[in-house]
Symmetry: C2
Subunit: 646 residues, 2 copies
């Protein structure tokens, strides 16, 4: 990421060791994502892990389409894809044939069908250790080293005794030779399912589905004539069931269910040797042959669905990732949910600590993320049942895959299919209306909010669109143009320049008002900001993009934009690219967002990429007034004339 401004509100003389902004326990996906975000934004981090090195083998390794968007937004996607992960575009289903023995393919199913507008319509499969190392290398660039192998032995949180660094944390080397006590503003547990922090806080775990399983998992290089060995497959046979997941470097992962609490002889300690699992796989895959050339990893583990009752008690000590939710590995959701837990929390901590938001903003972490975890667990069940009941008919899958927004009534199967695809792709994450995600209920105060026709859904990701950047004529992905820099992303869809000239001018004038959300949170070093700063020349909390419904060559930044928006010259775009999803639109990005191609509209996207509010772009103060109301709901200062608070 370029020109990442360091945090401004850091005290001039920050206390040195043992004082930290945050202590992060656990360097798996959730801990690393949180650490990476906060390190980039200038926070002081103590990050420990009780393992001597990153995950050496096995472990969760499915990156969903939506997570790739996030990783790209952080500039980490290239380093991950350099490992040449396997890409799963389709899932195949194999069952006993109607007549005869063995197994037969009964259907295939796109991982991310075309009704989902995904940049990367596939699941990426790669060893978790490679993914962890990409984060660790980025952390090192920002001065953070994971302290290994260290563990947490105790902590207490007391706002009154030490208002600035209320959390005392006791750490110890795993061999017991060294100890440390540190003080922090926050403590985060990314420890996994057996979280010491969660236990200490006496936070219970609810088991959504009473059924538990013992799974065997084997990563190996095999020689086989099974034709779908490079696809994700669910195989049911008279000899048992198996799940096949392709991996990088010609590897394949096999999941075999060894025991279930629904078995008559259920024993959660039941196990199976590597050879037993291989023999079982041979029987299941018959008449196809399979031989093992090399086994990289083999493990047997019991797993049950669980969800943490709370994600925090005091909004100082937080939990995330597997510490909050465990489930079967089949849908490949673990790492993705962990990433989103962390990115959700990261920007909120930043907004509070850097001085934009009230501390109350932190109360939105648990409800937003816990609901996603609950949906994940519900989905985990449904996903399993969907196929145990009956395989989908080919025409149902076809119909569901090809629909791209038609209004026809879907049957139950197609509905479940679509929900499942949205869910597994990561595009189904939808935060409910709250202070950050404005529903129509908020429109009472400003009729400009959520203008009629918009297809953007608050609490969901920004819709993808290609546009042409005016300064260099580069064709770019609009939704990726602002990196994950902790700022709100304000997209001004400016329609036709001739129509909106006055509205744009008024928008800038009212932004410049000292009581606007923008004018209230300018950088203190605004006069010495580099000419080359693209994203945050005025404020660390807001980055503006302007998108005209015009051809690139018709746009002149110095003429068509007020100075304030023109300062974001690297973020001015022409909506002049054809898009197959709106083939007849004159301005495809406007059309995809459902915004008027003449009059435009303003979209506020949260720092984590979810749409917060959509407002009409009008002459006068209305548009800025509406955004003042939005930001006024959670920011620290009184804006404009409004008094709405969280």
């Amino acid at each position: 990421m370029e020109n990442q401004p360091s945090r401004e509100n850091q005290p001039a003389k920050a206390p040195t060791t043992p004082y930290y902004d945050i202590v992060i326990v656990g360097a798996g996906p959730v801990g690393l994502m949180l650490s990476t975000c906060l390190a980039r934004w200038g926070y002081r981090i103590k990050h420990i892990d009780n393992r001597a090195e990153p995950t050496p083998t096995g472990r969760a390794d499915g990156i969903q389409p939506r997570s790739l968007d996030l990783l790209r937004n952080m500039g980490l996607k290239t380093a991950i894809m350099a490992h040449k992960p396997a890409r799963v575009y389709e899932v195949a289903f194999w069952d006993p044939p109607r007549s005869g023995k063995g197994i037969a393919r009964t259907g295939t199913w796109a991982s991310c069908p075309s009704f989902i507008d995904a940049r990367y319509p596939f699941t990426t499969l790669l060893h978790q250790g490679h993914i962890e190392r990409v984060f660790i290398s980025d952390l090192e660039k920002h001065g953070v080293q994971i302290q290994r192998p260290w563990t947490i032995t105790g902590f207490k949180s007391d706002d009154k005794a030490n208002p600035e660094y209320p959390v005392e944390v006791n750490l110890e080397h795993t061999d017991g030779t060294m100890r440390e006590t540190v003080y922090a503003k926050y403590l985060f547990s990314g420890e996994g399912a057996r979280s010491f922090v969660r236990e200490q806080l006496k936070i219970g775990v609810t088991h959504k589905d009473p059924i538990a399983h013992v799974w065997g998992v084997m990563d190996a290089v095999v020689k086989t004539d099974f034709p779908d060995i490079k696809m994700k497959c669910t195989i049911h046979s008279e000899h048992g069931s198996i799940m096949v997941i392709p991996r990088e470097d010609n590897m394949v992962r096999l999941y075999i269910q060894i025991a279930s609490s629904t078995d008559d002889d259920w024993n959660p300690r039941k196990t199976a040797t590597e050879e037993e699992v291989q023999a079982s796989a041979k029987r299941i895959l018959s008449p196809y042959s399979i031989e093992w050339e090399r086994v990289e990893w083999y493990s047997v583990y019991p797993i049950g669905q669980g969800i943490s009752e709370k994600y925090t008690l005091d909004h100082r000590v937080f939990l995330g990732g597997d510490a909050c939710h465990t489930h079967s590995p089949k849908a490949g959701q673990g790492m993705n949910t962990a990433f989103l837990d962390a990115s959700n929390l990261a920007w909120k901590i930043h907004a509070v600590e850097a001085g934009l938001a009230d501390r109350a903003l932190l109360t939105t972490y648990e409800p937003e993320r816990k609901e996603v975890a609950e949906n994940l667990l519900a989905f985990d069940n449904k996903y399993a049942k969907l196929f145990s009941q009956r395989p989908p008919a080919a025409n149902e899958v076809q119909a569901a895959s090809e629909q791209t927004g038609s209004q026809e009534e879907d049957n139950d199967f197609v509905k479940t299919f679509k929900e499942s695809c949205e869910f597994t792709s990561g595009y189904g994450v939808a935060y409910k209306p709250n202070a950050l995600n404005w529903s129509l209920d908020h429109t009472a105060k400003s009729p400009l909010v959520h203008p009629k026709g918009t297809r953007l859904r608050t609490g969901r990701g920004m819709i993808n669109a290609n546009v042409t950047r005016v300064v260099d004529a580069n064709v770019v992905h609009l939704e990726q143009e602002i990196p994950l820099n902790g700022s709100f992303r304000i997209y001004v869809f400016a329609g036709k320049p001739s129509t909106t000239a006055k509205a744009l001018e008024d928008f800038a004038v009212h932004l410049n008002n000292k009581r606007s959300f923008f004018g209230s949170y300018l950088r203190s070093d605004i006069d010495s900001v580099s000419h080359h700063e693209s994203h945050n020349p005025h404020s660390l909390f807001f980055t503006f993009c302007t998108v005209f419904a015009a051809a690139r060559k018709e746009i002149e930044i110095s003429r068509d934009l007020p100075g304030l928006l023109g300062r974001y010259r690297d973020h001015v775009y022409a909506d002049d690219r054809w898009d197959r999803r709106v083939p007849d639109a004159k301005a495809a990005a406007h059309a995809k967002m459902g915004l008027d191609e003449e009059k435009g509209g303003v979209v506020v996207v949260r720092p984590d990429g979810y749409v917060g509010v959509v407002a009409a772009l009008v002459e006068g103060s209305g548009t800025v007034d509406a955004l003042n109301e939005y930001f006024g709901a959670f920011c620290t200062k009184k804006l404009g004339e409004t008094v709405s608070r969280l």
Copy 2:
């Protein structure tokens, strides 16, 4: 690149130092490309450079669209793009306005307009040192270290005295402290314009255009309100002319012509200070302001057009890159031409040394590459004149940009424009008919050659097409599926499976004939090749791809392909992706190639990616007979019944 087989014909006990397959002098783009190819294919290389380290600043740095295809094919594109190079999509022209002073934009021009079917329709601009280091790092993985700073002091070539290692080369450390004499099969000069090897061979340099120039070039970070500073611009003003080229990291390169041999006071030693060039740039850009924040590199150098009369005298000592051709830097062609010189020579050396081709194959290097250099020099002139005469009218540029193959008569300007775009993008490189690139003249012997309707042009790059890989349902770029592995790429467009079943079966039967081009060049270790070898399970010289005009789920590899082609299971594709260029085609890849969607056809692509021959796919022996004739023209063995020789 995966599964790169090492060279098979290497003697069991290769002689150790001082014996090498090749000595390469110079580690600029041409030397590095040659070294990288040959190192991957298992050759023993002595590579020296007289600089202590890779290019630290400045130098040629434009990578054209077609070169990105090549770099991607080598698996090096990602590492280059990780440096975040500037991307030039359009060129802007600035001239004195019709009335008033200063400069005004008179037009823009796409770098690679849509009539060119490019995967990457932009020019990539990056510091040459970054590009060199990507190659050097790849070389190190294959055991080659550049020996620095060493220089060549003498060489002689004598086939009779030492038939196996006929070239004796004397090397010396630049400080004169160490000397070495080595023996090699080949010597390559990638030394640049002042080539010691060329001088020793007394090969003259022809100056195509007698006009010489002195150029000033400055790489800098500037602060300016000139709106096109991130575009490639040609600026003419009453105060002189300048060329602007954006770079990575907010840098910009400015080229200023300081003197021309057409000036009255021409002096090739004329120079200008950094300050003088800056003052000149200020006047030219007026009324826009420009200030220099940091100058990374500044240099003044005289340049004239020159072309080496010969590229080799004995087909043992070769020249390439700037040692063969010098020209103005304006069109950004230097590095790209160097890459293609090297990749052209690399596979031919490999084909000869590994035992596929007659030594006479090496005689095709000079004519193929020298013609390209001559076209480059001619273009260099035309390109300059095109704009000195008159700026293009907007509607002319528009018309030329948007045509995608219409049959209308182009006017001269549009014609020149198109040729220029093809040339600068790299898609204009076209090798003339010869033993490798079969024109219609060759059809006398087989009426199946160059079937009617094909849009593939021999001597040009393979046409791009998206297809779905059958084994894993991945959507892939067909033309990239076989890496630069030294093999000929044989694409079997298999049309409809039901129509071509017999033709495919016959194709395999006749390939299996011991006298076919394929049967004659099997691997000696064919029985011990790994199950996971994707590209070369049978022969190091041929990789097969099969593309059906059918949906992926309709294709069953074990049923629809003969065993020989089925063994290339990672290279079986469904031609089921929609393409905007052939929106109504049922099988877009077949349609783009101009091959029958029912009956298909076979395309042979040279190891460097250029189409060699296209043949109809028919029942009986005809198709293999035609390919036998093709390969028989240059290979070492007598094939089939034919006796045609080079």
